[in-house]
């Protein structure tokens, strides 16, 4: 069934179809609709889940950790300050190898207070060990939730689905709704190998000395390294059932492109329109959307970008004192294997619009830029 829904509700429908059993969350703009609709679905019996109202995001993730350790499919949603407050528990979910799925609505971090989008909230969680998938449409948002559960449960790792505030969270689009009955063909019931069980007791979160801790960290990295292949396979399996797939990256008119713009989130959609316009003018340009940020698809990125003569990365984020965060990853993917210039552009922080003309400005700058030493170019900053 097709329905016109907001991005936040696309998450809720994805969770309903995935038959999560425990949902715990705390209100925060612009996320709240996600869990309000889930709370309603729990209340009217549309989903057989327990909704736990907690006193903070830290408690929300702690409750998810408990529920997941007890052996059920578990979900939460948050944004910005809420995600940052969860930080300690995000580490915990990874270390405990719990396949929790979290939807994060990208919102700028304060102060000054901002409720508008940028990616610094989720990207500042880069090193906690959560898989991160960035989506660009309401359809992709809904479809990515059951994919995330499948990936999470297979790798025994938590997965974050990340989307832009307002441009996606509050924007209404047509979504082909998926139903639990059909999702079951793709996503089997969650049956953890180890769970809290009175008949088979285990010790959870116990002390690991220097003789053991490092091995457990190695196993997390091992799971991450398997991640790209698992995500690709799960995406294919989803496509088989529902006819829609998204990949780990998406190359748009890149085959013969001399210059490639790298983007993520909703900016990817806008960029495609600019690419078409520039192609019509005879300019050899393409776009690469990064869907999976952790684990980073180094090989896929290299394969596409190494054929180009120049790469321009648009970052709606910044690692202060460093570069744009996607920029750093792209550079790392190409390092030592190609000498092509990689240019970095910071745009759209705190929800400032990245319109087609902004992307065109970046593309024009990139085409004419003869100085690849300039790694950070700020777009539209009033100085």
């Amino acid at each position: 069934m097709k329905k016109v829904i907001m991005g936040n509700h696309a998450v809720s429908y994805g969770v309903r179809a995935s038959e999560a059993k425990v949902i715990s969350a705390y209100p925060i703009t612009p996320q709240t609709h996600v869990v309000e609709l889930l709370s309603e679905m729990c209340a009217n019996g549309e989903i057989d889940a327990k909704f736990i109202k907690v006193e903070s995001e830290h408690s929300a993730m702690a409750a998810c950790v408990g529920a997941s350790a007890a052996g059920v499919r578990t979900f939460t949603a948050t944004s910005s300050q809420g995600l940052l407050l969860m930080h300690e528990m995000l580490h915990w979910a990874v270390g405990a190898r719990l396949p929790i799925v979290l939807a994060n609505i990208n919102r700028a971090v304060g102060p000054p207070w901002s409720i508008w989008t940028d990616q610094n909230d989720s990207l500042s969680q880069r090193d906690v060990g959560w898989l991160q998938l960035y989506v660009e449409s309401n359809q992709e948002t809904q479809d990515t939730i059951p994919q995330a559960f499948k990936i999470a449960e297979e790798l025994q790792m938590p997965v974050m689905v990340v989307m832009d505030a307002f441009f996606l969270s509050h924007t209404y689009e047509i979504v082909d709704l998926i139903e639990a009955e059909k999702v079951r063909e793709f996503l089997p019931p969650y049956q953890p190998e180890i769970k809290m069980d009175v008949n088979d007791p285990h010790s959870f979160g116990n002390l690991a000395g220097p003789d053991m801790y490092m091995e457990l960290r190695y196993m997390i990295q091992e799971a991450m390294e398997k991640g790209i292949d698992v995500i690709k396979r799960v995406d294919k399996e989803f496509e088989k059932v529902f006819g829609r797939g998204y990949g780990v990256v998406e190359a748009y008119r890149c085959d013969d492109a001399e210059t490639i713009l790298v983007t993520s989130g909703t900016v990817a959609s806008t960029t495609r329109a600019v690419i078409d316009e520039m192609r019509d003018e005879g300019i050899s340009i393409g776009a690469l959307k990064i869907r999976v940020f952790r684990p980073f698809p180094f090989e896929d990125v290299f394969e596409i970008l190494s054929k180009a003569k120049k790469v321009a990365v648009i970052d709606r984020n910044i690692s202060f004192g460093g570069h744009g965060i996607f920029y750093q990853e792209i550079k790392s993917a190409l390092y030592g294997r190609t000498g092509i210039p990689i240019l970095g552009y910071i745009a759209g922080l705190g929800g400032r619009d990245i319109t087609p003309s902004v992307i065109r400005e970046i593309a024009d700058k990139a085409l004419s830029d003869k100085n690849p030493e300039r790694y950070i170019n700020w777009i539209g900053v009033k100085r």
């Binding site: 705390y26 209100p27 925060i28 703009t29 709240t32 869990v35 309000e36 709370s39 309603e40 209340a43 009217n44 909704f51 109202k53 006193e55 903070s56 300050q81 407050l85 304060g110 102060p111 207070w113």
Partner: protein, 270 residues
């Protein structure tokens, strides 16, 4: 007529509060109390957390600090310790103070640090659209309690008293003169002073609980806020649905920043 605008940061208007919200009534009561006490605005600081209540300092022409959700009290504790001569007023709400900031709330009261806390209690998370807070009454509906709230709520004033506050009062925006009087008393008290102010949220709470009309919510306050002397004599049955109003605690006891200074002096002279 009293010139409120003298205290208002007009550049931040229009305000975000909905029609029928009581938060503006508290803002005005606070301005009158500050004005009548002749407080120096240069030596006063307003600190707030997150939520509709916490927008108040943004509208005041005074030193203001708009902090993160639930953390107004630790920020304010830092301000007060750095300069104990400052008058520090904390603006918070039921979600901000008793959920995400609950731990800070009891510890600030326990220390009896000289802060004036105005807690706007509207029974709901208003800013995010009406989710259950720890102050939502049992049985009330919220966006996260479609069939009525299951969880018992805090007696917030009682909690502050038990934790160690030196002044605690409960009032509401209908009884606006009492509201101003209690704010004034709290501002003059040396120690942790709390004024819990019942304020209507017709948009997020009233609409779900048969009080969509702001007047109905005001009437609810008029009819159900009971003077504490009378409330104390009521039976449990009579207390059903009623809320006690008045000064619930007013005691003189050692205040944290003063004790801190005393200790420094003592250690240095020994």
């Amino acid at each position: 007529m009293f010139n409120y605008l003298e205290y208002i940061r007009e550049s931040n208007f229009p305000h975000i509060w909905c029609a029928g919200c009581g938060d503006g009534i508290i803002l005005k009561a606070l301005i009158r109390a500050i004005d009548k006490l002749g407080m120096s605005r240069d030596e006063s600081v307003m600190v707030s957390g997150i939520g509709c209540s916490s927008r108040t300092p943004g509208y005041m022409d005074i030193n203001t600090l708009h902090t993160t959700h639930g953390r107004a009290l630790p920020f304010a504790t830092g301000v007060k310790l750095a300069n104990p001569d400052l008058k520090v007023i904390v603006i918070t709400g039921d979600g901000d103070a008793t959920a995400i900031g609950g731990n800070h709330f009891i510890h600030a009261a326990r220390r009896n640090i000289d802060l004036t806390v105005l807690l706007y209690n509207n029974y709901i998370y208003g800013m995010t659209g009406g989710q259950c807070s720890p102050m939502t009454p049992v049985g009330s509906k919220a966006s996260t309690a479609q069939h009525g709230n299951l969880e018992p709520s805090f007696n917030t004033s009682g909690l502050a008293i038990a934790a160690g506050a030196s002044f605690v009062a409960r009032t509401d925006v209908y009884h606006v003169q009492q509201c101003e009087k209690f704010i004034s008393k709290a501002l003059q008290k040396k120690g942790f002073s709390l004024v819990e102010i019942m304020t209507p949220c017709p948009t997020a709470y009233g609409r779900r609980n048969k009080m969509a009309n702001p007047v109905t919510m005001m009437e609810w306050l008029k009819d159900n806020m009971v003077p504490v002397a009378k409330y104390d004599k009521m039976t449990d049955q009579e207390r059903e649905g009623k809320v006690s109003a008045g000064i619930l605690c007013d005691i003189d006891k050692a205040e944290f920043t003063a004790e801190y200074d005393k200790l420094i002096k003592k250690v240095r002279t020994e």
